[in-house]
């Protein structure tokens, strides 16, 4: 997804202004001229300056660079869906990991993504089981990371 520089410039200016407004609420140190608000304010001032420069540059080049370039894949529904599925899988993991558990969640995610990327279903299923068990072994047995067990805890496994 490519944007004209002006779009980025505007986003940066709005973001930086919000940061400055929020930083003004920080308490100041007693007897000190500079407090915790100094660096965020300085950084945001820099971002606003850059944002203005980007807007100017973007407006100059607007004849040649459209505000949003429909990337080759924007027209490609399959790539769009894949991106959606990938981000969705990560979100699903964040939301469901504790209740469902790593292995039960990882297997369908890998099957779904591998299948979407063009791997045959059978291969995707084998891949998902091997990967989930390998990661489980590496992280839980070797590195002693308590990956969420979720549903599997009822089976004592």
């Amino acid at each position: 997804m490519r944007f004209n520089d002006a779009v980025f410039g505007c986003v940066l200016i709005v973001f930086a202004a919000a940061v400055i407004a929020h930083a003004r609420t920080f308490p100041s140190l007693h007897g000190q001229a500079y407090g915790p608000d100094l660096f965020p304010t300085l950084i945001s001032t820099g971002l606003i300056a850059c944002g203005v420069a980007l807007v100017v540059r973007g407006l100059i080049s607007r004849q040649t660079v459209p505000m949003l370039t429909a990337h080759s894949w924007s027209g490609n529904r399959s790539a769009q869906l894949n991106l959606l599925f990938t981000v969705g899988s990560v979100l699903a993991f964040i939301l469901l990991a504790d209740t469902i558990g790593f292995i039960v969640l990882a297997i369908p995610i890998i099957i779904l993504l591998a299948y979407r990327f063009g791997v045959s279903l059978l291969k995707a299923i084998v891949l998902s089981i091997v990967t989930a068990l390998l990661i489980h072994f590496l992280f839980v047995r070797v590195l002693l990371v308590p990956l969420p067990r979720g549903l599997l805890q009822y089976f004592g496994g």
Partner: protein, 504 residues
């Protein structure tokens, strides 16, 4: 002298243990594999490894990263030569040249030269590191918060001016990194900044998930957005990799020395890593070559320069990282983050208190680069197999490793959220020409910049002049101002030039 020998002896015992050598071998295989596959970079390899190094002692942790990266940077040459797709960005500079050699039927020469030059470059860079770092550290031990403030400024300024692409976008990228570093409890006043009541944000943006997001997730997204299939490598016998290497090297021995030197120096500059070293070495090689016209048509000379330079640059980047805690490239930025988490803050005091650790790092560099010779040879022989591994099988696996790695640091899913956000951010930035390296440097150097500024201000009672009150600080401060002014002058110069109609 005797103390030094004793330290080196101790360092040897730290490195030459079955465990350390074993993990180095595994890291080497991993690095060669990741580097050989187009679309998976050396930085991504490092990012995927940090969750594992998190659970290791400092020496094996560093050994794993050094070995992986040295191998991956060389392995990036393999698909570059065979398929004209650089395996890592550091091979991009001479990828066309190497592929042109392959088209002439000289794939053996291209890969052999790359390999031997990578080894020589790596060893040269390691020598530069081992010789300069201890000297600089002796000097740096006298530095106070003023000097460190200026050093951090210098590092950040270099990151912007040297980075690829426009300086303006580099600066934006840096500011984004600096802003991210301010999230969490502020160190001087203890006030939570931009946490919006979230307890998990109080500790700031966790470094490892952020790195995994920026370097691994962004690559996964890029693959999904443009899934180009890889063409099959040409059927060409690659058996006698070292045939004719001796003659090539003796013909271009000056190029080897020059490439190694350029690589190490550029590596030392903060923000510029192996990829920029390779571009510059290739350009220098072409400029001073007696056979300029042959460049680009499958001429081995540029390959010698640039292939030496990128591996030398890797070691060079560790000089400022170990001595000042200022990363020389994005890989050392990750390393510094890892060391901080282990409670081993890089800086001159480590040279003083735990010199055996530093010498162990040097030894690891030599071992890794020498091991590159046989292992790289093996990788070239196996390349046809590795290049056949389909990326649509790798990507879901990589994604799952990223998720679990981000989870494993604090054992919370919050890390995964950070990973996802940073991954999307890095993808959007790179797509639109914003370099990512300055953001990483901003995240790593932000706290150093702010802490040293605040404590200097408290020391000097709010007087800015304090920053120029000590001789070294004054020199560094002036240097920073010069680095800032030069691009500005250049900009004004070109603006006035282009404004006037050019005289005939």
């Amino acid at each position: 002298m005797e103390a030094l020998l004793q330290t080196i002896g101790l360092a040897f015992t730290l490195v030459f243990q079955p465990y350390v050598l074993g993990v180095m071998l595994m890291a080497a295989i991993f690095g060669l594999f990741v580097g050989s596959i187009p679309g998976l970079t050396a930085t991504m390899a490092t990012a995927l490894l940090i969750p594992f190094t998190f659970f290791m002692e400092p020496v094996p942790a560093i050994a794993v990263i050094v070995t992986t990266v040295a191998m991956a940077i060389f392995a990036g040459d393999i698909p570059g030569a065979l398929l004209r797709i650089p395996g890592t960005p550091a091979s991009a500079a001479y990828c066309d040249e190497a592929h042109a050699l392959t088209l002439k039927g000289k794939a053996e020469l291209a890969l052999g030269t790359s390999l031997v030059c990578a080894v020589i470059g790596g060893v040269m860079g390691s020598l530069v590191l081992a010789l300069t770092a201890p000297m600089l550290a002796e000097f740096a031990i006298k530095f106070s918060s003023y000097e460190y403030f200026w050093l951090a400024c210098l590092g950040l300024s270099c990151a912007v001016t040297i980075s690829t692409g426009s300086n303006l976008k580099g600066f934006v990228s840096l500011l984004i990194g600096l802003f991210i570093s301010t999230i969490g409890i502020d160190i001087t006043a203890g006030h939570p900044r931009f946490t919006f009541g979230s307890v998990e944000m109080m500790g700031g943006v966790s470094f490892i998930p952020a790195m995994i997001g920026m370097f691994a997730i962004s690559e996964v997204i890029r693959y999904i957005a443009s899934p180009n299939s890889i063409t099959a490598p040409p059927q060409q016998g690659i058996k006698h990799v070292f045939r004719g290497i001796g003659a090539t090297l003796s013909q271009y021995k000056l190029n080897v020395a020059r490439g190694g030197f350029i690589g190490a120096i550029i590596g030392i500059l903060p923000g510029a890593g192996a990829d920029i070293a390779a571009w510059i070495a290739y350009a220098v090689s072409k400029k001073f070559s007696r056979q300029k016209e042959k460049f680009g048509t499958g001429h081995v000379e540029g390959l010698v320069d640039a292939g030496t330079a990128n591996n030398a640059g890797l070691s060079g980047a560790w000089v400022p990282a170990l001595v000042f805690g200022i990363p020389g490239d994005s890989i050392t930025a990750i390393v510094i983050g890892v060391l901080y988490m282990k409670g081993m803050n890089p800086g001159p005091t480590v040279f003083l208190n735990q010199p055996e650790l530093i010498y162990a790092v040097f030894i690891v560099f030599f071992v890794a680069n020498l091991a590159l010779l046989p292992l790289g040879f093996l990788a070239i022989r196996l390349s046809r197999l590795v290049l056949k591994v389909p990326r649509n099988i790798l990507m879901p696996v990589i994604l799952m490793f990223c998720i679990v790695g981000s989870f494993a640091i604090n054992n919370t899913v919050f890390g995964i959220s950070i990973m996802l956000v940073m991954g999307l951010l890095a993808y959007l930035m790179e797509e639109n020409g914003f370099p990512v390296a300055p953001t990483i440097l901003g995240i790593v150097l932000g706290p150093m910049l702010e802490d040293n500024f605040m404590s200097s201000m408290i020391k000097s009672d709010g007087e800015i002049s304090g920053f120029f009150s000590r001789p070294i600080a004054a020199v560094l401060g002036i240097l920073v101002v010069v680095v800032w002014v030069i691009p500005l002058l250049r900009f004004l110069y070109s603006a006035t030039r282009s404004g006037k109609p050019t005289a005939p």
